[in-house]
């Protein structure tokens, strides 16, 4: 075994997590599924919170790690938010399970069943909260002098992620050239009773401007035939 062969969570630990976490940990599939690509924090995402030290790491596992420190305006409450952006909801679910292995405690003791607002939730203590939303695994942890109610911030963040932009312009979003690599794309997929999928997508620039996206506009996506 080379030094770098073994970097992620071990099979033994994942087996243990798998035994502890059953299907009941996950909420039924929502009516409208959300998928986010190129997640980025925008200034108006969480009113009352200031973001600092945003860092993005491509981990080489088809997963983007986005880290940011958030401070409540006029308070000593500080949180560290970690977003793991996976390729699809299935990988997100697997990574949510793997995230439970980052605690030294039994995963079964961490879960909230059924979840209250997200697709799956772990509540290891008042200072930290983990949830799954679509292809995103989000961890909020208190890091300031005052212990933060992490769940409140997590819920506000989840609402922000799920929020469908209302004032999207019809102009073409920035999907190529300078700035395109920082444009977040939110896709909402609603399945009809007949089994058809109806999709809406929005491109959100780092400055908060929003544009509706057709499939062919999405960065890195080939147009539909």
């Amino acid at each position: 075994m080379s030094d770098t062969d073994f970097t992620a969570t071990s099979r033994a630990q994942m087996d243990a997590v798998g035994q502890a976490v059953g299907e009941e940990a996950f909420a039924p599939a929502p009516e409208e599924e959300i998928s986010v690509r190129n997640f980025g924090f925008t200034a108006d995402m969480l009113p009352g919170w200031i973001f600092a030290r945003a860092r993005e790491i491509d981990t080489g596992r088809g997963v983007r790690l986005i880290q940011v420190n958030a401070q409540a305006t006029g308070s000593e409450s500080m949180a560290r938010i970690e977003i793991l952006e996976t390729e699809d909801a299935g990988q997100g679910r697997a990574l949510f399970m793997e995230t439970l292995a980052r605690f030294q405690r039994d995963p079964a003791d961490l879960l909230r069943i059924p979840p209250r607002f997200a697709e799956a939730e772990a509540v290891p203590g008042q200072g930290t909260f983990v949830f799954l939303r679509g292809n995103l695994v989000v961890t909020v942890a208190s890091i300031g002098a005052v212990i933060l109610q992490a769940e409140d911030l997590a819920e506000a963040l989840d609402q922000s992620i799920c929020k469908k932009p209302q004032d999207a312009s019809d102009s073409k979003p920035v999907t190529s050239g300078r700035g395109a690599d920082r444009t977040m794309v939110k896709s909402f997929t609603r399945r009809t009773a007949r089994g058809d999928a109806r999709q809406e997508a929005f491109a959100i620039s780092p400055d908060g401007s929003v544009a509706r996206v057709s499939d062919s506009d999405e960065p890195g996506q080939k147009g539909s035939e």
């Binding site: 770098t4 243990a16 790491i57 981990t59 980052r102 405690r105 039994d106 203590g125 930290t128 208190s142």
Partner: protein
């Protein structure tokens, strides 16, 4: 007519470090490019950090490359030397300050011991400079007034025998010519030099020496590691002193993360990374990723800093995940009370530590996250605290780490997981 110093290159061989300084970078984001000391006409000299792996040095091969320029007609015969001068910071190596403070502390209680520490402090302060002097070397100046790169040999004997440390040195540069045979000063250069015991072990790398290679040793990490392990001459001492250094951060900077469910805050195991950037920021008094850590964070810190100085530790695990193993009373980092972690009585699904060798029971443990009770007597209940820094894991029969950490009923569950040893990449 005069000489001037243009640049000094300590790291002149990217692959062979027997005669050259190590390949370094500043931190994850910033690489070091070019010579460690250089001067242009418009600004102050640029001084970059330098590091040597002491035990890897071949004293006969040690040297630096220097470039000089000459103002005026090139002399027929020019010799250049550098003699040690007074460094700008005399207390760079914290040993001297520590010994002086010990001397002061003991003065009213035990004057003899105080004098002993004072004499050690004097010895440490008056030690000859780590790179000594550069002997007289002939230098040829071209028609353009430039010398080109000149190899200047250094006496590496003292460097090879040195301990881990931080050294501030200064060189007074002098020249003489056939027509002016008296040595004349023409420049002074200042340098900050880190000495490690050996070449860094993974996750640190020495190759490729490219700008993008973030696994080259970071000078910011060397600063902290060398101050913690200053004076260490053996790898096991390096590991133990680093372990003590990380644990000492528990007095105000970090603590076991009960409010966050004992989650890893500086490590991301699924992604296989350790956020050394944030950990260094925390160690320097900044926010970093906050005060909370768990055993994995501490194991990463211990092994990463120790391996930077040439030790060979792993991030090794024990336990079997299900069921958790119960613990004897202990003190978690940043907490002074004895009991179970966070007083939950839940035990550990796993525990992770700095671990030597193959992470088996005969290999040594360096656990900065938990102080164990070394009093295993069934008759006396007064805990005797021990920071496990160099004791073997041990079998269930031996009075080593395993029996000090795990409750008697959990000794069989608390077993090494050598197949899970790892060294996480750094960000």
């Amino acid at each position: 007519m005069s000489a001037s110093l243009k640049q000094l290159l300590f790291n002149h061989d990217a692959t062979d470090k027997r005669g050259s300084a190590l390949n370094l970078r500043i931190d994850y984001d910033e690489a070091i490019v070019g010579p460690e000391w250089s001067r242009t006409s418009v600004r102050l000299p640029i001084e970059l950090p330098i590091a040597y792996a002491a035990r890897h040095i071949d004293p006969g091969a040690l040297g630096i490359f220097a470039n000089f320029s000459w103002n005026g007609l090139p002399p027929q015969r020019l010799e250049i030397q550098a003699v040690p001068a007074q460094p700008r910071l005399s207390d760079a190596d914290p040993r001297t300050a520590l010994l002086r403070s010990l001397a002061d502390s003991w003065a009213p209680i035990n004057p003899t011991l105080s004098r002993y520490y004072a004499s050690l402090a004097e010895l440490a302060a008056d030690a000859p400079p780590i790179l000594g002097r550069i002997p007289p070397t002939p230098v040829t100046i071209g028609a353009d007034g430039e010398s080109g790169a000149v190899f200047l040999k250094l006496n590496g004997g003292r460097l090879r025998a040195s301990a881990v440390g931080i050294h501030e040195i200064a060189w007074r540069w002098q020249y003489r010519t056939a027509t002016s045979p008296r040595w004349q000063d023409f420049d002074t250069s200042f340098h900050r030099i880190f000495t490690t015991l050996d070449l860094p072990a993974t996750p640190w790398l020495q190759e490729p020496a490219e700008v993008w290679n973030s696994a080259l040793p970071w000078s910011g990490a060397l600063e902290l590691a060398c101050s913690w392990a200053s004076g260490a001459r053996l790898k096991r001492d390096v590991a133990a002193m680093i372990c003590a250094g990380v644990h000492a951060m528990g007095y105000g900077q970090i603590e076991y993360g009960c409010p966050v469910g004992a989650r890893e805050m500086y490590t991301n195991t699924p992604m296989g990374i350790f956020d050394l950037t944030a950990f260094l920021e925390r160690a320097r008094g900044g926010l970093g990723n906050g005060p909370y850590v768990n055993c994995t964070d501490c194991a990463c810190a211990v092994s990463t800093f120790a391996n930077l100085l040439g030790a060979d530790l792993w991030q090794g695990r024990m336990g079997q995940y299900v069921p958790a193993f119960m613990l004897r009373d202990s003190q978690t980092i940043g907490h002074s009370s004895w009991g179970s972690p966070c007083n939950l009585g839940l035990g550990f699904m796993f525990h992770e530590v700095g671990w030597s060798g193959d992470c088996e029971q005969d290999d040594a443990i360096y656990d900065a996250s938990v102080v164990v009770d070394s009093n295993l007597s069934p008759f006396a209940h007064l805990p005797v605290p021990l920071l496990p820094a160099g004791i073997p894991f041990g079998s269930i029969w031996q009075t080593f780490y395993r029996r000090m950490l795990a409750a008697p009923e959990s000794l069989l569950i608390c077993h090494p997981l050598p197949e899970e040893r790892r060294r996480r990449a750094l960000i």
